[in-house]
């Protein structure tokens, strides 16, 4: 088991390394391939007064005139050992993990991400719980009552759910539920430590919006999985033992159904934690996703890099957790790994 964990960890680290590399390549190499010069790049990142001196200063600060490999090395070095930056006469130590400073706010990127993390965590985990529980429950009921009114209705809604982009649902909710009819309070984030009630009421709509889409997908998948599992030979064995149908469904049918769902959940939640871009954008929640979009609009390179990596990090972590969970739920994978 230990080796299994270590092996998975190793794979995760490798994955992160590659993601870093690819991210780097996209931002540092692709623009050059597309024909941008060092000066043009620097001018994009320099701020509002692109004097020749300032452009040169930006080139120096970002090592833009150095070979790509060296630039990458500096970037990686920053992440592991930190880096020093000069602000005015101050030499500021940006401690590891250092993704550098935002071109826009001159704040260290990493703490900025951490600052916004609670919003995204709240959104992602809250919605995650809702969609997992909701989706799986509906899926199970539909599978058990296959062909019933409930089944048809819920699967219809689910199909509609997966067919609706989150920004459309979000917009509709905002336009009607919030502004026109006032059923829901205006969405917004209040720290839970400040006011738990405001925290919950402010996030309820984003939760539901994000969860609706995902729950729909989970319901469909659970139902399909459940139906498939219920056709397995071992279910017949369980029935042949004389077990109650309830036991057959919930003990023997559910576990194998949920096993793949867990994997998907890990991937999804990882992606959501890496920035629920659209939901945060629609509801103007200052989470990681919106931070990233802002950074992208402002060509704030360090932030874009930082957020992307951070997002990938979440995906990797969640996948790792899922892998371990999977090994626990399904004894077979421990061996084949």
């Amino acid at each position: 088991m230990l080796t299994y964990i270590l092996r998975r960890l190793g794979a995760g680290v490798l994955l992160l390394a590659i993601v870093t590399m690819v991210t780097f390549v996209i931002f540092y190499v692709v623009p050059r391939l597309a024909g941008q010069t060092t000066e043009q790049l620097a001018t994009m990142y320099v701020g509002k007064a692109p004097t020749p001196e300032a452009i040169q200063a930006t080139i120096d600060r970002l090592n833009l005139d150095q070979p790509i490999a060296l630039q990458f090395w500096e970037f990686i070095k920053g992440i592991f050992v930190g880096a020093e930056y000069q602000f005015g006469r101050d030499i500021v130590q940006c401690s590891a993990p250092c993704f550098g400073y935002s071109f826009q706010t001159y704040q260290e990127v990493f703490p900025e991400i951490i600052n916004r993390l609670p919003v995204t965590l709240t959104l992602g985990l809250g919605a995650g719980v809702i969609w997992l529980v909701g989706g799986v429950t509906v899926g199970i009921i539909s599978a058990i009552k296959k062909g019933s009114i409930f089944d048809r209705l819920s699967m219809g809604v689910a199909l509609a759910g997966v067919s609706m982009p989150v920004f459309f649902t979000g917009l509709l909710a905002l336009a009607f539920l919030v502004h026109a009819w006032g059923i829901f309070p205006s969405p917004g984030y209040t720290p839970i430590t400040e006011n738990p009630l405001a925290w919950a009421t402010g996030m309820i709509l984003p939760w539901l919006t994000l969860a609706f889409l995902q729950a729909a997908q989970y319901a469909r998948q659970t139902r399909a999985g459940m139906l498939e599992t219920m056709g397995e030979d071992y279910i017949r064995t369980a029935r042949a033992k004389g077990l109650k149908e309830r036991t057959v469904v919930f003990k023997h049918g559910l576990r194998p159904t949920l096993t793949p769902i867990v994997t998907i959940f890990g991937l999804d939640i990882g992606l959501v934690l890496g920035g629920a871009v659209l939901t945060e954008q629609v509801y103007s929640l200052n989470g990681i996703g919106r931070y990233a979009v802002q950074a992208i609009v402002q060509s704030d390179l360090p932030v874009i890099l930082g957020v992307t990596l951070f997002g990938a990090f979440f995906v990797v972590i969640c996948n790792l957790i899922v892998d371990l969970l999977y090994a626990w739920v399904d004894p077979r994978v421990r061996v084949s790994g």
Partner: protein, 606 residues
Amino acid sequence: MTPTGHSAEPTTEPVVRVRDLKITFPTMDGDVHAVDGLSFEVAPGGALGIVGESGSGKSATSLALMGLHRGTKARITGEISVAGTDIVSASDARIRELRGNDIAMVFQDPMSSLHPQYTIGNQLIEAYRTHRPSASTAEARARAVEALERVGIPDPAKRINSYPHEFSGGMRQRVLIAMGLVCEPKVLLADEPTTALDVTVQAQILDLLEDLRQDLGMALILVSHDLAVVAGSVDEVLVMKKGKAVERGDVRTVLSEPEHPYTQALLAAVPRVEVSRAQRRAEIRADRAAREGGSAAAPQPTGASVRPEKQESTTPGEPLLKVENVRQRFKVRGGMFGKASDFYAVDDVSFELYRGETLGIVGESGSGKSTLSRMIMRLLQPTEGRILFEGRDITKLPERQLRPLRRDIQMIFQNPYSSLNPRLTIGDSIGTALKVQGEKDGKLIKKKVQELLERVGLEPSHYNRFPHAFSGGQRQRIAIARALILQPKLVICDEPVSALDVSTQDQVLRLLSELQDDFNLTLIFVAHDLAVVRQVSDRVAVMRKGRVVEMSDGDSVYEDPQHEYTRQLLAAAPVLDPDEAKAHRAERARLRAEAKKAAASEGTAA
């Protein structure tokens, strides 16, 4: 436990009674009458064998006995009574009470019939506690261990915590039987419990069922497509065809004096281990001569009968194929720690093969037969050793240089369903060989293919059909045609008939034999069925765990086995004669006892 049989006389009242059972599945193409008016009964402690070819409705009947068709679209009429309860009309709760408690079922596929995510113990305990809710966990556990012990799982107290995937197929089948036994049911229903298993394991399981029946006084319903399997284990046998019983009666009577032509044909097709190669060939040639003489009235050229003689008098000289000390290593990831360890699937095998000769290779599943075949085909590169074909070392030839050689060595595969590409017409499938060997002329290819199709007993007009339109036997003919189109010198048949039912098996074997005569083929014939191998081989090699444990000319292996393992195999082979089956059973018991004495841990399922 419900006291159903209290007042009734257990000896007179049958424990299972089926009257005029009809099972119908509604499908898109109308109703499928899977079972059509079936009746039988089983006395307490009695044993009934249900035999029939694939699709004859055996499983449908078994499931009906358990009430497992409930909730599906199947329509069931007639009367089924198990332990005094009418299965058709009883309440769900009553049926549940019955299942596992009065009637237990052992399913066909041990690989998929156990829940992969719960331990063996968990599943056994659950089965027990369902019907003994008052039993404590410890009690149930003790029962589970006991049941495992009884079915011969070594060290059951420890293995009870294992997951199914940690068990071999035979062990899983035992677990399933143990699960059926925990509540000591009145009837044990075994639906092809050994189809997926090796002969030795099959014999063990059958012996086990027999023992249990003796010890516990259960009634047994044994379902199989193989008459020989049931022969030694049941009192009464029921032969099914297309959902109807064509014959029913005492096992001896049915086997010795079958009345229904279907049963007769079935019996005739069963390969018999006691028939020698020479007898069989003579029989086939006679049949052929009679047939061709009758239909075409053309005199059989003597060449066909001359050539075999030449082969039988084993001419030394240059061997066609020479295999020298080949080994094949695989890396396997073992256990939790995932360390790759070396594993030799074929270990130091040597033999020579002369033109026109047939070498039979027998051995249990996993003994390395296919691996050896694939090495000779050079689909695998031997880790060690040499392979010489016509004196040329082909051990390390690169793929490119092998290509011309492919004309000379061909292979026929085990599974007719998977050895043909479902998306290619059979014409394409067969023609591919010519195409990849450089033939460009499409018309010529078509002509050749059609000729060959005719030769293997198919219509030339089948050229453009897809494989799904053919039966298993026909597909195997197509596969044979594909192997022969390049006119190879050596053909390796890797279990070419294992997936076919007996009657088809017989046809295919005959075809092969004829073709060998006509094309002067040299054959390597791989199979796990001793009887089949005997009938086709000049020489037989017995493989076990990658090694050849015994090799000599065909009949002597059977009549005077030298190696212990060969004897085990022979003793395990199912035979049609119930008395002989009994004798074999005794022999097996003796061998087992000996093995136990030798304190060897071998002998349990591999």
